[in-house]
């Protein structure tokens, strides 16, 4: 009995000790690996989602002419495409006969404008009456303008037929570089290559007969209902693709595929894989992943409303994975992550989780915010790490979010930074910066919103958004998102949106902690002094910051609004003070610097623990070393150099009381 009690004393004692340092140890174990991997990802995945005709639309909408003369371009919205298409991978040619049905958006509309990527041969009514048309260029992109026989008014229906043909320029260079298609050995294509595209965003179904060479399987946003010999060419087969659910965008891929599918009642999940043993082995696991991920997102974001979800393996020249509505494109090298060649299976799952999140953002929940790609990419990346954390690896989110915040802090100079929602976000020449800001910072800020308003309110607001706009001709933007979140939160969220979404930078908190004489009741007290700055001039961060006071009795967390540049708090605490953690749950992107030089863990004293961390991190470099610790990088130059180490060694044994801070 006695021995048992003693054992408990020891165990408890060990627990306090380990707990006191736990966060530091955990932080460093995988964080550097994650930083390095994410940095590589940022460098590799250039033009990640800056591809596709939708991106061109976002780009065009930003242009002065469209902003000033929108009505003459935002003439209509297509509601249905139908017709015949022949794609010949050998000659890289496409021929299309497309009927467009839609509705007029503006009063007294006498012409319709379309973005096109093939030569337009003729335009006529369904009755065969020829219509006049012209091709002009808008900021480097060809615009088809079709004259209507008589002016139409808002809400009127229209129908016309367009014949197109030619060899599309897959790497289209207009305002910026985009990739829309590839022909060999796997054919993949943004269907807007042959479907003339309204500039106001189409929201359309489709019924297409697509002919491709015999033996190739076709994957598409719609469902392939049947395959028959092609009337146009005996070496081709005609695939009847029916998409009876409206979407903004659609795509296809075709190849010598194996196909597998599993039920996902009432829908199904399907997978098109190239004929090799690695892909064959992976297929069952990937299908189960897809199903699990979809089900998880349904739980937090609302129902999956497309009738199926499929993924197709494509070639690496795509340069990125794509989350088209109801169809993912996954390049070979990404598809095979974790198959034994390289990478871990979890990396592949995270990739699928990102792409599948696009089914909600923006495929079902459509954004019409031309300045805010982060609403898709930041949310998809957040969704991925949130899924991984909940379903695959506890702690994944914290580590990923911290690595993203650090990458943003260290690798995005203020001169290249841009607000998440801003016109500048559409003109980012450095792909890595784009990834670090729109994807990574976007994910961190999404997580910030979740942490601040709480899971229930956050996911509740997104479900409400989904209910209101998914699969409807409804759209949201940054402003509307804020409104949904504020309604759930019950208060303004300007304190997050203004500095983190509409501005750049992050706060820098210089923190000092000093032990005070105990209270009359014997309770210990500390004085916490905060000096607040901003990494960039002009951005003000008035934030509710949490402070975890760690004592030998446990942890007490206090949340205080830091709205002044100099602020001092005095807090009583149980037990004996050990150290302070600022923003322990990593809610905000920020930098914390100890006022007491060398006080790595903000304990108010520089001792052996500070020394261990400084010595271990010595020579570490952000993104390149396994041993970089940002909290030892006192001068924030990305390296733990002699200057940083000496701050600990020279001040060893000093306390903040002694230093008079």
């Amino acid at each position: 009995m006695k021995a048992h009690r003693s054992f408990l004393v020891i165990a408890l004692s060990l627990l306090v000790s380990v707990q006191a340092q736990a966060s530091f140890i955990e932080d460093s174990s995988s964080l550097n690996q994650r930083i390095e991997a994410n940095l590589k990802k940022a460098r590799l995945l250039m033009d990640f989602r800056k591809t596709g005709a939708q991106a061109i639309l976002r780009h065009l909408r930003n242009q002065p002419i469209l902003r000033q003369q929108g009505e003459s371009f935002y003439t209509h919205r297509t509601t249905s495409f139908s017709g015949d298409v022949l794609i010949d991978p050998q000659t890289r040619s496409v021929t299309a006969h497309i009927q467009i049905d839609g509705k007029i958006l503006a009063s007294r509309t006498n012409s319709l404008a379309f973005l096109v990527f093939l030569n337009v041969e003729s335009v006529y009514t369904p009755d065969g009456e020829a219509l006049q048309f012209s091709i002009t260029e808008l900021y480097g992109y060809p615009i088809l303008r079709v004259a209507l026989p008589e002016p139409r008014n808002r809400g009127d229906a229209f129908s016309l037929v367009v014949d197109l043909s030619g060899t599309p320029n897959c790497s289209y260079s207009g305002g910026f570089q985009v990739k829309l298609c590839a022909f060999s050995p796997i054919l993949y294509m943004d269907m807007n290559i042959f479907l003339p595209m309204g500039l106001a965003s189409d929201f359309a179904t489709s019924d297409l007969r697509i002919s491709i060479p015999k033996g190739m399987m076709l994957a598409a946003t719609g469902i392939v209902n049947g395959v028959a010999p092609s009337n146009a060419n005996p070496d081709f087969e005609e695939h009847h693709v029916v998409q009876d659910f409206p979407t903004e965008a659609r795509s296809l891929s075709a190849g010598i595929y194996d196909y597998s599918k599993i039920p996902m009642s009432p829908q199904f999940a399907g997978l098109y894989t190239t004929k090799d043993s690695f892909s064959e082995d992976l297929a069952p696991k990937i299908l189960m992943d897809i199903k699990d991920i979809i089900r998880f997102y349904e739980g937090i974001y609302g129902a999956y409303l497309f009738p199926k979800i499929e993924a197709a393996q494509i070639t690496d020249d795509a340069g990125a994975a794509f989350g088209w509505p109801a169809l993912l494109w996954i390049p070979d090298s990404m598809f095979l992550i974790g198959s034994g060649h390289y990478g871990m299976e979890t990396d592949r799952t995270a990739l699928f989780a990102h792409e599948l999140a696009h089914q909600w953002f923006p495929d079902m929940n459509k954004s019409n915010d031309p300045f805010a790609a982060w609403l898709s990419e930041g949310f998809a990346e957040f969704s991925s790490v949130y899924y991984m954390d909940n379903m695959v690896e506890k702690g994944y989110l914290e580590s990923a979010i911290e690595s993203y915040a650090l990458l943003y802090r260290y690798f995005v100079p203020a001169t290249q930074d841009y607000p998440l929602t801003s016109w500048q976000s559409q003109y980012v020449s450095d792909s890595m910066v784009y990834m670090l800001v729109t994807y990574y910072k976007g994910a961190v800020v999404t997580n910030t919103l979740r942490k601040v308003i709480g899971d229930k309110a956050f996911f509740g607001a997104l479900k409400k958004l989904h209910e209101d706009i998914a699969m409807r001709e409804e759209y949201y933007d940054t402003y509307k998102l804020q409104q949904y979140l504020e309604e759930a939160y019950g208060d303004s969220l300007d304190f997050i949106f203004v500095p983190y979404v509409y501005n750049i930078g992050y706060p820098i908190y210089k923190v000092n902690v000093r032990r005070l004489e105990p209270n009359q009741d014997g309770k210990g007290r500390i004085e916490v002094k905060i000096n607040r700055q901003s990494s960039v001039a002009g951005t003000k961060f008035d934030l509710p910051i949490s402070f975890a006071v760690i004592t030998d009795q446990g942890e007490e967390t206090r949340t205080e609004w830091v709205t002044e540049d100099e602020k001092t708090f005095v807090w009583a605490h149980e037990g004996r003070f050990i150290r302070l953690r600022v923003d322990p749950e990593r809610v905000f992107i920020k930098r914390v610097v100890p006022m007491l030089d060398g006080d790595v863990d903000i304990s108010g004293e520089i001792d052996g623990i500070d020394l261990i961390y400084a010595a271990w991190a010595y020579n570490g470099q952000i993104g390149y070393s396994y041993n970089f610790l940002s909290w030892v990088d006192f001068d924030a130059n990305g390296k733990i150099d002699d200057k940083d180490l000496n701050k600990v060694l020279d001040n060893f044994g000093r306390t903040s009381e002694e230093a008079g801070q």
Partner: protein
Amino acid sequence: MRKARTLSLVGLLVLISSCDAGKNESLDVANDIGAQREVLSESQVSNDDRAYEVSIDRYEVDSIYTDIFSEDEDAVDSNSLPQISGGSVPYYPSPSFRFEQDAALDGNKVILDVVAKDLGEVFGIALRIEWDPSLLELESVNLQQVFEQDGIYKAKEIRPGSLAIGIAHNASYKKHEISGDVVVAKMTLKLLKSGEVSITYYEPRCLVVTRRLEPVKPVYIPYQLRALVR
């Protein structure tokens, strides 16, 4: 009964300590990266030449289940009292830190070894050693060269009665295997007045890590000192 046993131990400890004196060559340095060695302790010794008679009582541990943290002797039943005579071999758990009396008593001074046992592969060691400063005063602390390779060695009394020790390799890829008993530091303490004092490791500020920064979790065994100053 207990007192008699204690007194008989004093002579034995003095004898053993005399034999051990000078056995461990003290480093007495802070070996920074590329820096010169420096004296570590900043504590001062008063030149008080009053005569002291000291009796030392040492609690040794049979197992980690004994009441090593109990400071209330009445609460300890006689069966679990540490055995300190009769040729019993003390048992210390692995990995662990403890104190051992090293040198012979020298007037009012007590020299304690900080002993690490079976820590395994180690990158760095942070220790916080504490005592009642009204009873004891730190005169000096000599850090021992724990690592074969160059390392960083630092020690300082952060507050009266609270000594911080930091020992680490000077590059994250280095490690050193600590097996068996290894003296990490030698502390010379001056007894100020009679009384019973615990010399403890303050665990929340102690940390031992591998080169992967994984924590090693030693048992920290305190030391009980009884001083009678005439």
